[in-house]
Symmetry: C2
Subunit: 289 residues, 2 copies
């Protein structure tokens, strides 16, 4: 009856956390994954340019990420499209980014500063809304009793009605009548925003009704005039959440994270920022992680 047998292959399987983490431990690969958080499929060439590394280098990274299961690929003609493997992957990545320490990156141009500000204001996180707008939505819904903090963030009856009134009914089959609310720790504001099925449905609704518009090449969301009216009327969002220019949101070191203040902690001292600069790499176009 005892299943342990000297003759048997005496091996067991254990999750190789280090191997998975190693995939993300490289700055270039991490940047690729963060880029793919927009939920879209990118070609190898686009990612090479984005990360500012040679195409051959990108190939190697993509091979690792795909065979490691973080990315899914689709070959079409001479192109290689990659995207995140699935929602779980995206969620774990955002959570991880929420736990990560901050890194200082230089801002080289006004355009880049604007880009960054827009990202902080409103962006997609795979299939839902993140950034100051996303956080404000979650906060407003909680304040108005549409979400209850009682047993975690759950949709209340009022919340279900509110969704139905908006025409969002498909967000909650779930025989038990409870809805699918999940939260993401936002990496810009370090506060919760809405994800899960409700988050995704809300995002779709907002897109379809032109409350927001998604930029083609980036994750940036822009709130339209109609969107401002809708968000004010429906949720009473303040102007700070509706205009990018008002949401300066200086990313504080770490306000109230239970994990302990992140001790601005540069993990390793630059050592010599000037040293090793003999082979100056092409400047990264988008120095966000």
């Amino acid at each position: 009856m005892n299943r342990w047998d000297a003759d048997q292959e005496s091996v067991a399987e254990t999750p190789d956390l280090a191997a998975l983490a190693a995939l993300l431990a490289d700055r270039t690969r991490a940047a690729i994954c963060m880029a793919l958080l927009d939920g879209g499929a990118w070609t190898a060439g686009e990612l090479a340019e984005y990360a500012a590394v040679a195409p051959s280098t990108t190939t190697e990274h993509l091979n690792l990420l795909v065979s490691g299961g973080l990315l899914a690929e689709e070959r079409r003609g001479r192109r290689r499209y990659v995207r995140l493997a699935g929602p779980e992957t995206a969620e774990t990545l955002e959570n991880l980014a929420g736990l990560a320490p901050y890194r200082q990156v230089p801002v080289r141009s006004l355009a880049e500063a604007n880009h960054r500000r827009a990202l902080h204001h409103a962006r997609t996180c795979y299939d839902h809304i993140a950034g100051a707008l996303g956080v404000a939505i979650a906060a407003a819904m909680t304040e108005r009793g549409l979400l209850a903090r009682d047993y975690g963030l759950v949709l209340t009856g009022a919340g279900a009605n509110w969704l139905a009134a908006l025409g969002i009914s498909d967000a909650g089959p779930s025989a038990a009548g409870r809805a699918h609310v999940r939260t993401c720790l936002d990496w810009t504001v370090r506060r919760q925003h809405l994800s899960g099925a409700v988050g995704a449905a809300l995002y779709q609704h907002a897109l379809e009704h032109d409350w927001i518009v998604k930029a083609v090449t980036t994750r940036i969301l822009t709130v339209t005039a109609a969107g401002r009216r809708a968000f004010r009327a429906q949720l009473g969002l303040p102007d700070e959440a509706l205009y990018p220019s008002l949401a300066l949101a200086p990313p504080r070191p770490a306000p109230d994270l239970p994990g302990g203040p992140w001790s601005v902690a540069v993990l390793r001292e630059p050592g010599g920022e000037a040293a090793g600069g003999d082979r100056a790499p092409a400047q990264r176009r988008h120095p966000d992680q």
Copy 2:
């Protein structure tokens, strides 16, 4: 009005995902973190022995992990105690482990095989129940309408009532804003088990009512006779979930993970398992991750 000013420190902050991942990308550090998932505080020496590396090496690893914010430390006399920084950290670690590929580890003794089987059956995961028992609990609660399945799991009204009937009411408000129902992807069974505040409360309840007993030195949980009665009566758990010997649970490569089958994918071919063996390291006592 425009806040961008050439005179200004033109830097921005961005989460350094790669730096965080790098902390976990080393096998020894990953092993340390997995060990700390038992929720307790370990001394540096204990971890050194566990991971089978020199004390000096352990010191370096702990320095990195602490300054990276994953671990919290407490110095007492000549001892250095470390533990995970918080529940978020533990949760993210377990989620990550659930996404990770499998790695084959040799099993060298009958004792180790038994240890491993017990871990697969029931163990703590920081502050809640994991392993086959944890998965069975989540499954049974879902089947009985106490949890609704969707983007993860959510507590239903019936579920809230059921908890209240058990006398678990304090799982409530959550000052920390921690989602009350959260799921972990179990790394032994690759299926969801219950975490979050509800998972923690359930674990406490089970401990206090002697449904389960925690081993002193390991994460292993043992179900008592009273526990078997209770789990059968309350949730109709099958014997497979209640007796370790019945839960052989051969860890399948990856049954139904949306992320795509993990392609048993040894990320890097061993290359030469015999090669490089000139400096045979001390055998690890606990070869799990």
